[in-house]
Symmetry: C2
Subunit: 157 residues, 2 copies
Amino acid sequence: MHSFDRTDIQLLRALCTEPRSTVVALAQRLGLSRNTVQARMGRLEETGTFLAFDRRINPVALGYPLTAFIEVHVQQKRLARIVDELARIPEIVQAHGMSGPADLLVRVVCRDADDLFRIDGTILACEGVDRTETSLAMGEVIPFRLAPLLDRAARSG
Amino acid sequence: MHSFDRTDIQLLRALCTEPRSTVVALAQRLGLSRNTVQARMGRLEETGTFLAFDRRINPVALGYPLTAFIEVHVQQKRLARIVDELARIPEIVQAHGMSGPADLLVRVVCRDADDLFRIDGTILACEGVDRTETSLAMGEVIPFRLAPLLDRAARSG
DNA sequence: CTTTTGATTGAGCAATGTGCCCTATCCGGG
DNA sequence: CCCGGATAGGGCACATTGCTCAATCAAAAG
């Protein structure tokens, strides 16, 4: 892996508030040389600090205003095959294998309630899926964020 | 809001596989003029198609290898106040208000199991929180993705 | 059918940023 | 004490950006 120092954190933190800023601007703000910032950014990319572009796209703006979480209970021996099958459903934007009562936590986006109902049906139709429990997300009360974590790391790390 | 046409979708889709590509490169690949691509990109940004920079950072690389989902049951009248309080916990990277058995679904990243235990305790300590149910994510079996959705939209839309 | 509106295009231009080079300096670990 | 890694500062060729303008095109409106 790769361990971060305070400078890396500050760099990432600055990008949180000013994602469009250029390397030169970043260097100025942090009081570093352009070379340094460029090198560190390169390293951050190489070491996998940045995720796929997908994550930058807002599903709501895309026309999928509804998000739901579906807990899926499966016959565990068939888990791998089921995951493959679920991966073919485009509305499933993410899925985690879970420890706990449910085996999978699937995150779904959809256009409306009917859409959700249909997708749930598709999941249930997979061989080895025993049961699903659907919960509709009423709102993202805390929007995805890492800034607070970075802030704390910058202060204490 | 704003409605997308096929070109917007193709643009986003192209960026999924080649996030670093320049406007010129994009224009070439899509067979459009640079001006058009630039204009459309601008519109996409303005209309909120892109999310915060946070989402581009990989928590695992950041030193938080564990993700957990915590279902929180609360006294609903105090929901707003509780959310405010939860927002002060940096390890909570996201939270959804839910319809269904649980009131909140909180997404947490942590360094290890002890860390998770501590965070869960912090959540439980909030006034009005009745109960939590923690599930540890064993793995992201389907990594977050919108590409399949975009692909379908490009074909049928 | 004609008009109008908006999107697209090609061209051009100044300013900026990028990628890459090299060297000197600084600091901590061996 | 010396060495390696990181940093700063300078520089250079090139690509990209942001912006403007006029011409073209298509579809919707009159």
